[in-house]
Amino acid sequence: MAYQKETPQTAPGTIPAEEPHAGKGAGPLRVLRRNIMLAICLVSLAPLILINGILIYYYHVAYSEKVTAHLEELVIRQKQAIDEFLDKSVQVIGFIAEATPLDQLADDHSLSDILHKTQKSFANFIVDIGVIDQDGLQIAYAGPFHLLKAEYASAAWFKAARERQTYVSDVFSGIRGIPHFIVTALRKDKEQTRIVRATVDFALFNQLVSRLRVGRTGMAFIVNRQGELQTDRTVDSEIVTSVLNSIRTAKFDGQDHMDFEAPDPDGREFLYLAATLKNGDWILVFRQAKSDAFEHLYNARRLAVTILILGGLGIVTTGFLVTRRMVARVNLAEKDQEIMEKQIVESGKLAAIGELAAGIAHEINNPVAIMMEEAGWVEDLLHEKELDPVKDAPVVEDIRKALKGIAIQGRRCKEITQKLLSFARRTDSRVKKVQLNELIEEVTSLAIQKAQYANISIRLDLDQDLPEVCVSPTEMQQVMLNIINNAIDAKSKNEGIIVVTTHRDDQFVVIDVSDNGQGIPPANLERIFEPFYTTKPVGKGTGLGLSICYGLVKKMGGDITVESEVGVGTTFHVSVPLEIPCEDGPGNISRPRQ
């Protein structure tokens, strides 16, 4: 048949619904896919990343400033508290040194009295009081330790205290072996010089500093310029050294406080705030791990980045899926177009063949007519001539037989050309009123020869009351011929028989074409109307025949279905609707009758 020709075909079972790898169409499609993908990602991801980045940056700046400012305030307040504390200590001792008569200063009892009064009234942080003469000998003492007659001449603080009106020492262990610091005041009277020395409650003082706790890691300590801790040993000396170095390089620059960042030996970044104390002798250092100080910031940032990544993944995934679907659709559309083009080519081919057949049929008709007339002429002659009934009779009889033979064969020729003409004359899709029974008879008479070669007989079981339908006779012929040809190709082991029946079913005329061939396996059955699907060997079928039929019947508003059982046979049901009206009037039907 016209639509089972040379087109190279996809091997059976390899119809890729979307094939990204094979064929020349894959290249442009891949480019298309990549471009769409890129566009989607760029357009949606870029602003997302940008907004995220900008927000994170500004939030970071603002938040760190806020946190630092807050800590700074805390530290400064603490520094003022500590300074006040020290000032108060100095003032108290200075007052005692100034206001106490010298003899009382030399007397343990009165000193003890003074100590109690002082502790009770306003300076509970004074632990003990001692009076030392200019040679460093403690001449009087009041307090919990037994330090009378202690010799301080060689103590570092003593030398410093001797030179100043008031003095606050660094923390040291001293004679009692407990870290503490002392406050001294000088009392000069004539040639006598007395130094009043008081020990400050170290625990109390420590509390002032240790009170400053923020978060999990925020804490404070005090160091002197030599890097000696002035508070409880809660910090590594290594850290202290590095902090001092940082402070030295950063400088206070005329201010009494500063902030900087430095890593711990273990690599953790710490935020530092430093403030000078005691006129710059001591430094109050506050430190907090950045991860702690900026915890909320970091959490927010982590959240933002997580959302960004998830969103990005979502966008990329969606982009990928959308792109894939789009490309698949484009691919499908291209396939459809290919099929349509093929159909156009096929119908064009059919039309061309039709024209050719019509031409040939007509040309042959004339010589056949002449031949038959000539035969008739010979017959005439035999009639005319007076023949010897005895001598010529057998010859004449033979000639008459031969002439009859010529007449029979001539009529055959006539029939053949007639069929060819009626099949080929109209290859258009104009809708006409068609009696499908006649059409089926016509088509089967064309297929009968092929069937006979295959040892298959065709039986028609047509409903004589079948109403006419409005279809394109050409298309209907094409559909029927295709289905019948398929049935012939189904090849049964035994004698094949194809039964074509027609009947009316409600609003449809139904044509059933059954064969007793090998049948179609269920897996193939689903795909039988798919374009390019064929089980015929390569080169024998395009796999288009049935799909074209399907398209044609669907266009008519009808349907083709198929039932099959392997080894038993296959039945195609073609239904054509009755209610479709003919576009042109019924006067237009002029199918030659034989």
Binding site: A358, A361, H362, N365, N366, V368, A369, I370, M372, E373, E374, G376, W377, D380, E384, G410, K414, T417, Q418, L421, S422, R425, S590, P592
Partner: protein, 143 residues
């Protein structure tokens, strides 16, 4: 006595030849023409022609055209169309233009003779009526 005088028109000489022989054998007087033009010329030359047997499909001036010319110029002459299958519609169309009948090629010779005879009879009757009318007219004038 001839049944009728026919003019056989076909573009195939062989067809004309054999038909000529067969028809003459059946007591028809036959003239042939290979084209529409020749047909018209022959009719002009020979007013005795009763029936034209006309092939529908001819190159140049085709059957329908020839028929219309014939009917225009020689309205009394009857035309029987001969046609292949492809041109049945054309033959039907021809009958609308005044052809007497049509036959399919290859045709049965007896059928053809019959049709020719019918056509000739129709023509004769027609002519008779005309003669009668003319006679009446002359008689009326005389009265």
């Amino acid at each position: 006595m001839h049944i009728a005088k026919v003019l056989l028109v076909d573009d195939e000489a062989a067809f004309l030849d054999v038909m000529n022989r067969r028809l003459e054998m059946r007591e028809l007087s036959v003239r042939t023409a290979l084209s529409g033009q020749e047909c018209l010329k022959a009719l002009k030359e020979d007013p005795a022609i009763d029936v034209v047997i006309l092939d529908v499909k001819m190159p140049g001036m085709d059957g329908i055209e020839t028929l219309r010319e014939v009917k225009k110029e020689f309205p009394l002459v009857e035309v029987v169309m001969l046609t292949g299958h492809a041109t049945v519609e054309t033959a039907i169309e021809g009958m609308k233009y005044g052809a007497f009948d049509y036959l399919m090629k290859p045709c049965n010779i007896e059928q053809l003779i019959e049709k020719v005879a019918e056509a000739k009879a129709k023509k004769a009757k027609h002519e008779e009526k005309i003669t009668e009318a003319q006679l009446k007219e002359i008689m009326g004038r005389m009265a």
